[in-house]
Symmetry: C2
């Protein structure tokens, strides 16, 4: 079937092409009666407006790009849901790309999105991202950018995150108040800001409670396979520190790996050892014992990031100045059975 053109519709109804075009864009200066006739025929003829041509004129793509490190985690699903919900409201579409936690892939994805002239970009940095020139390049291109979760403090743009340091501090403080002294931290990679901040929160809570920080109690989970990292390090810590009392894990998935190992060897949680997670993902509710964790509001993070981005796109369109925002969303402890 050949596609209908504006001209065809105009000819068939004996009106001008401009009238057809205006009617299809719902301009007020075409009568409702004419509008209805035109729209009905357009539907009948299967007319599709050529968005790319529209794009050239308005310089808008009505598409935003979202770059996430991985599609595996419940957290990013929640974020994505938050982004989608706002995008649906504001009539934007979302291209989703993943960096696979790799700097080189992240660079390539940004380039792709800029080439595609998306109206804006929302992203969480990969674990490898330590310099930010490719991120700054987005800003140089005057493409609105909002960072979330794994952000770069040095990049001048809007950001939506939680206070990772405070959240981690609260978690470790909770473990200490429960009577634990020998508390390990299963930390994330060295690069991401949130991983650094969670580690610093852990350390500060120990210090504020007069517990000497012992670096040998910090285990690195940086294989991008949190579950296995948690499982393997749980095995290791029981050999190296059989008297360990509690573990604060960088993510729920690491915590679930830990619990899985302890369940496998019949170590009682929390009687013999306490486990604290981070995220409040769906699985933290269904595992036995149910995981005590930090609620990281993924949906709100995505929703807020999208809302800020669309506002910045609007301001840019109107040539109005944009003031960048750094939003810090509240976290809270979800008390369950593992600690």
């Amino acid at each position: 079937m050949k596609e209908a053109t504006l001209k065809q519709i105009a000819t068939q109804l004996g009106v001008s092409i401009t009238t057809v075009s205006k009617a299809l864009k719902n301009y007020p200066d075409v009568s409702e009666k004419t509008k209805k006739k035109i729209v009905d025929l357009a539907i009948k003829l299967n007319y599709t407006p050529n968005s790319f041509a529209v794009n050239l004129r308005t310089k808008e793509s009505k598409i935003i790009g979202v770059i996430i490190p991985t599609v595996d985690y419940n957290f990013f699903s929640k974020v994505f849901k938050g982004v989608l919900e706002e995008a649906e409201k504001r009539k934007y579409q979302v291209i989703i790309l993943r960096s696979n936690e790799k700097l080189e892939v992240e660079k390539k994805q940004i380039e792709l999105l800029l080439n595609k002239r998306v109206d804006g970009i929302i992203m969480s940095l990969s674990n490898e991202t330590g310099d930010f020139n490719h991120i700054k390049n987005i800003i140089k291109h005057k493409t609105p950018l909002v960072l979330f979760d794994k952000i770069a403090k040095l990049v001048n743009c809007s950001k939506v995150a939680i206070n990772d340091r405070k959240a981690a501090y609260d978690a470790v403080n909770y473990l200490i108040k429960k009577g634990h002294k020998k508390i390990a931290h299963f930390r994330g990679s060295y690069m991401p800001q949130n991983s650094i901040d969670r580690f610093l929160g852990y350390k500060k809570a120990l210090e504020d409670n007069n517990i000497v920080y012992d670096p040998s109690l910090v285990y690195l989970c940086d294989n991008n396979t949190d579950f296995e990292d948690g499982y393997e390090n749980a095995k290791k810590i029981l050999m190296e520190h059989p008297d360990i009392e509690a573990i604060f894990a960088i993510t729920d998935l690491v915590a679930v790996g830990i619990i899985k190992y302890f369940n496998d060897i019949d170590l009682k949680i929390p009687a013999q050892i306490a486990v604290f997670g981070f995220c409040n993902s769906f699985m933290s509710e269904i595992i036995t014992p149910k995981l005590t964790t930090i609620d990281q509001p993924g949906f709100e993070i995505g929703n807020r990031a999208a809302s800020i981005l669309f506002d910045e796109i609007d301001l840019k369109k109107k040539n109005k100045p944009v003031i960048f925002q750094s939003i810090e969303l509240e976290t809270k402890i979800i008390e369950r059975d593992s600690a």
Copy 2:
């Protein structure tokens, strides 16, 4: 910063605009030396090719659309990962939309994608989708379409799914071989083909084993909140059929809801009652007891659907005929501890 144009690059290097354009597209008829000079300057000047202009000429967007019913389930994450992996290889980008299991939203999303002139669409139908005119409209628009998981047998396009009837048959047969006779089915909505087929597989397995089908043992889970549906119906079935021996659930998430309720009331699984899931999602491994389930290869489904779609896009571009494929991927029983 003003963006560089092809002309600017051409003037600065004293070559023609055509040469610059060809160099940036890596055409073989520009010398490597000239190519390098042009590419270097383009990078220095922050040149971004205007993809939308390119689109008008090539009529390609290099974007495909994926419509999924919901972003909540592990299954769709796996499918999406499979799609992304193939898209990255073939240098396509992916717009992802969700229908929220609503027919009206699904119609709107299709319209958006067709307006955006995506090169192709991959989709799984919503639970409400009973007539298929909007799906057929995609084909009328000559936009390649691949359906997966919740497919419409009546729509003439390529499809990737599993044999839901056989998989369900295998599951119920497994329960019967374990000695169970009074077996319930927690089924999905009435509309989706896969929900119908899983129900028919359940029924057939009973019949083939001379067990009389009892409609009062079939419970409907159609609130799009599988976990709660499973939990609530588990509560209900124990009141209505206290002697029930086993439950075959339409999804892992329903099964996890069932297990959650039985754990809450300390009913022993599988000693007092067996539970069988469907999907083999991550949570089926971490719940206690671990869930016996059907492995539904989500990654392969997405990967295969994308691969077929890109092939069809290529054939269309070359004006070659497309032969639609119906791919049925293998499933298998994952024996764990719940049955």
